[in-house]
Symmetry: C2
Subunit: 319 residues, 2 copies
């Protein structure tokens, strides 16, 4: 059942023993949402823990430093930034039993008893910010850094068109409250390992253009990834943005080999194209400007062919 | 004489026939400041024109579209974002006769009759925003886009530590007033020509590290630049940021050959080092995190040797 923020906050205030779930292949928004909500609930004197089905990349370690480790049997599951419990991988059944979901994806599929969903929010952390304010918890330096992380990462550091005046107003308050934004932005948007620079250079070598340069695709095979030392899942994830950064490209695609026969396509689109719509052709989803889908039991060539065909068709349809 | 915003606004309100000067090698902040102030003065019914001694890169064309071209003899010169009239190149003498300077550089050298300088502002456009508000001019879509451009470009799209809560609060208002931030950010921070990608790849090939990887330097010779089609001054300017983006680098240096025997070194530093201080060794200047200096009548090798030596000494001094 869809609910408003007041009902969500009443639920959180009246109950206890929270397991907060963050999605697999975690990003800054799910991790920032989970860590901020966990800190806020603990500050209210509640028991809470934030759990992710996947290993959390080390660059996000700071989000969890102020959380008190608590050992308890959870009574209430809260999902943050989770559009679909498929994104919980092996924790799907735990997510399906959730009492509350807080999310901002337009592709959100209801699964929890109570659903507080606002697709017009740039980041789930905008909703968590509002929830924490409504709970009456002071946004200290730690919570501010968690919320800033989600807002910055889901907006490409305020670059994307999902940003609203509210996004900047919240950022102003988070910075005033001590968010360590300089270090966060450096870690999230600036610094690259030498391995990552190599990875980017290698994938750019095999770039292919279609539809008069409006569609571009790069690929990253397991062979390439395994050949490069000191790269991590973040480095590989960041490849998704590269093709769309080239002048003239409106649909940028990156196809990565996840394991033998399994491929993940990531799409980034201009305002003229709906990335989620293209991904939905293959059972995927996401946002209008950033989405993804998977291809199983196939080859890189065939996966590329399929996603390129759907993308070129989107260009043709627009003419 | 240093003045406050009220005196600056009184001066602008009481006079007319303004020549607004923007610095050579123009960036988004001087161009956004000049265009926004020009639009605001014209909206007040005054005659105003904004002039830059250098050609303005085409990606900034939108800033000047709403300005009404006016032919008149200027009576008052206003300099925006100009730390030193040396930065006006052949228009230096015009700048030296300025009635008003509005600037945010800590290295600002007084030259105008009245000087409104606030080094704690992330961008000169923050000051121009305050001036326009104080003038009582409504910030329409055009002015909002000009101001947003300066604020976004001087903060690396809100990434750098010069950002304050005020920076985000102003951005919130500019977006609410129609600033075309999605297109601006795409043009300023995202899109790269294929030539630029090639330029970046080539300069990364010759990267050198010093002081245990804390200092990194790349170079761009005229021979390299001339060998690449479809690159422009923006593409070359953006090289300055690359070395500091590599993990572990605290002082990133890019040395570019401007013409035979003339080299420009650009420095980008972590919070631990003062870029302007290093540049001042060679008669340069700028901000604490971003500065530059020139070497004349020398070779690339010697220019690199000098700026690297000063940078390595800064690292040694800190130990």
């Amino acid at each position: 059942m869809r609910i408003d923020i007041k009902t969500a906050v009443d639920f959180l205030r009246e109950n206890d023993d929270y397991l907060i779930l963050m999605h697999a292949s975690p990003d800054g928004d799910t991790l920032g949402s989970g860590s901020a909500l966990c800190l806020a609930l603990q500050k209210l004197g509640k028991r809470a823990k934030a759990v992710c089905p996947d290993v959390i990349p080390h660059r996000f370690d700071y989000l969890f430093k102020a959380i008190e480790p608590m050992d308890f049997e959870h009574k209430n599951v809260v999902c943050v930034d989770i559009a679909d419990t498929k994104l919980l991988a092996e924790m799907k059944s735990t997510g399906d039993a959730a009492q509350l979901a807080i999310d901002h994806h337009s592709s959100h599929k209801d699964f929890a008893k109570k659903e507080y969903v606002e697709p017009e929010s740039a980041a789930c952390c905008e909703l968590i910010y509002a929830v924490i304010k409504e709970l009456g918890v002071t946004i200290d330096k730690d919570i501010a850094s968690c919320l800033y992380t989600g807002i910055a990462t889901d907006t490409g550091c305020f670059k994307f068109t999902n940003v609203t005046p509210r996004t900047h107003s919240i950022a102003a308050e988070l910075i005033a409250n001590g968010a360590d934004f300089g270090a966060i932005n450096y870690a999230m948007f600036v610094v690259k390992t030498q391995g990552r620079i190599k990875l980017e250079q290698e994938t750019l070598k095999n770039i292919q253009f279609f539809a008069d340069g409006k569609v571009a695709v790069i690929t990253a095979s397991l062979a390439l990834i395994d050949s490069l030392p000191d790269i991590d899942t973040d480095d590989i994830g960041a490849l998704a943005n590269i093709p769309r950064e080239i002048a003239g490209v409106e649909i940028g695609i990156c196809v990565k080999e996840k394991k033998a026969g399994v491929f993940k396509a990531s799409l980034r689109t201009s305002d003229n194209f709906d990335a989620a719509e293209i991904a939905q052709n293959f059972g995927g989803g996401g946002h209008a400007r950033a989405a993804g889908c998977s291809f199983n039991g196939t080859t890189m060539e065939k996966a590329v062919e399929k996603i390129v065909k759907a993308s070129v068709e989107a260009v043709e349809k627009q003419k």
